[in-house]
Amino acid sequence: MKENPFNPSPVNFGNVLGVLEDMQDAGIIEKFSIGGAVAAILHYEPISTIDLDIFFFLADKSENSILSLTKIYDYAASRGFSFDHEFINIHGWLVQFIEASQSPLWTEAIEKAELMTIENFQVLVIGREHLAAMWIFAGRKKDIQKIEMFDEARIMNVGILYDILLRHNLLTNWRQQQHNFSDEYQF
């Protein structure tokens, strides 16, 4: 651990990852990846966010996404985790579960996610270019700002990004916003 002049806080993120692995072992979810702002943070630098987005596949492919969330909420209740319609409170982290199989982009994002070590866990984190494609699809101001952040950092591979946008019909969305990005990312 590096010396931190900005006073590190005690972290309980590993407990959250432990719960996610337990959900895999219990046959509730199959594969999962960290997405959203926390993924952006892991690729670059901390930004403001309150929640953790988990993109996942169902262990039982025959079930629909509503049933899958029921299983997740049942699991949360059995572990004593509080929840509302949006988040499950896992060890103090607000976790949002997003079933990914209905979206080809989300599915690919999980399949091609990068393995990172967080505490003692090996965790899949959605890659930079897929995150950018997901954000351009969502198109909110805060999503565009995260792409700008990646642009500033020059951490997106132009060829990979273009390929993803092309295959998932997102080039028009990108072009509508590309005035916000540097010359390198003009398509």
């Binding site: 590096k2 900005f6 806080s9 943070i41 892991l42 630098e45 901390p46 509080s82």
Partner: protein
């Protein structure tokens, strides 16, 4: 127009901000999450102080965040 003192103060602030960003980018994944948790706590304290001093109320999502942390503590 800014005085020299103000200009220097702004430059110093920019420098410190950039140093902090460089520092956070150099952290491991685990350390970045730690840093995020610290920033969340600091940000919530700022929102609380703003509200207490007659400013805008703490946004609902941040109240939810604080409740989740409190439940867990």
């Amino acid at each position: 127009m800014n005085t020299n003192f103000e200009k220097e103060a702004i430059e110093d602030l920019k420098r410190r901000k950039e140093n902090f960003r460089k520092f956070t980018r150099s952290l491991s994944a685990t350390e970045k999450i730690q840093q995020l948790e610290l920033l969340q706590m600091h940000y919530y304290e700022l929102l609380k102080a703003r509200e207490k001093n007659g400013g805008r109320p703490i946004p609902e999502k941040w109240r939810k965040w604080q409740k989740a942390r409190f439940e867990n503590s």
